[in-house]
């Protein structure tokens, strides 16, 4: 029954040219040329939504810590890697630097977690600020800090980000 329901739902989505949906996990990165709605949940993590206003394409990262310290894999779990990779992915897909704009979210200081001690949220906010400034990419919208988690839905075609605050459950 559920399968039939989902098939019908998908059929309507395809016929109505709905954007594809994608759930972005912490430490991952997603880019799409075709319209896509990328969803993610943020706590002390930060997401940079990069959008090309000319080609109407975009990508989003979700990093958990500010810097890669050389230990383990150089994955987009770290801000300096995640932001650099996101910019490179867009540039290698035909975007021009001057057409790129960014929207940034997250970096909450969630209580009852070790975040408070190390202030990961604050450091995650700092790294995106510095790197986007260095890369000369304008930040046209942001919702950073505070003590609540965030749920984001980013449309890579329109560049619009829907956001709502969420209570902390199991978000990073």
């Amino acid at each position: 029954m559920m399968t039939i329901f989902f098939s019908i739902k998908n059929y309507f989505k395809i016929t109505m040219l709905q954007p594809l949906e994608y759930f972005l996990l912490p430490g991952a990165l997603k880019f799409s040329k075709s319209p896509m709605e990328i969803t993610t949940l943020l706590g002390s993590c930060v997401s940079v939504c990069l959008w090309d206003s000319r080609l109407k394409q975009g990508g989003m990262n979700h990093y958990m810590m500010p810097y890669w310290n050389g230990s383990g894999l150089a994955s987009p779990k770290y801000g300096n890697i995640a932001i650099d990779k996101l910019i490179k992915v867009l540039l290698s897909n035909g975007s021009r630097r001057e057409d790129l704009v960014a929207k940034v979210f997250g970096g909450a200081a969630l209580l009852s977690s070790s975040d408070c001690v190390f202030n990961i949220g604050k450091r995650n906010i700092e790294i995106q600020h510095r790197m986007l400034l260095d890369e000369d990419i304008d930040v046209i919208a942001k919702s950073l800090g505070g003590d609540k988690g965030r749920k984001l839905i980013y449309n890579t075609n329109t560049g619009v980000v829907k956001m709502k605050f969420v209570q902390k459950t199991n978000i990073t």
Binding site: L25, L29, G70, K142, S143, V161, K164, N170
Partner: protein
Amino acid sequence: MIMNGDELIKKEKEITELHNTINALNSKLTESESLKSNFISNIMNEVYNPFSSIISMADNILSLNENKLHNAIPMAEIIYREAAQLDFHLQNIFVAATIEAGLEGVELSIANLNNIMESVVKKFKFDINNKNIKIVTNLSLDLHVSITSDAKKITLVLLNLLSNSIKNSPNNGEIKIHFELIEDELNIAISDQGSGISETEMKIIFDRFKKIDETINSVKGGTGLGLSVVKAIIEILEGNISFSKDNGTKVILNIPNMENNHSRFGFDDDDILFDQELF
């Protein structure tokens, strides 16, 4: 802005700390770059050697006379062993590259640990036989363990950990693999009778391209990617990994059951964005 003496001392201390951190980071990154160069030479050995063996063994089989076809069996065994090694190293390299590109997701399925263990042990059966290693596990026909997680990723984690244990085990040694499902978490403990990992080595085991035995005469091989891949996968699966020295090395994995975690990987239509804001 005028600062008093105490504030100046505090700022100076902060600057010194920052300076030390940057220096430490810099040397770590320089080391990481040089390890990357070593990786190329390691990988040449790990890829070329199995390929050469496979090609020459296949060539030998092709030139066998019809009445000596029974000689093909040991050669086919070598081909299987070398191809399995090659497959294992390539999987690690590709998964590491996908994780570094941020493209590795979670494919949820029912991971049957009995089947996974069977396939993992089969991959190393020749090494296990060569060293006469005994694999002891609590899984049996009566004890089936399954968990909702990413079966492919768990398989690669176990391949890496078992490969390390086999390499480090003495001949005629024993490797114990214990599975336990407690509430919503799968605990796996793998212990071998090797020389164990020292405190100093413990700090570098997850570094990519880093091998504990990097001496030129090392016969243990490997790309130096294994444990960094294992750690990254375990983090993606929202689990934990820890090591301890216990008459050898003991690795403990905690992998959560993701059965009740579907909402994190899917989309809930009832989730109305009641206080949504548009940016």
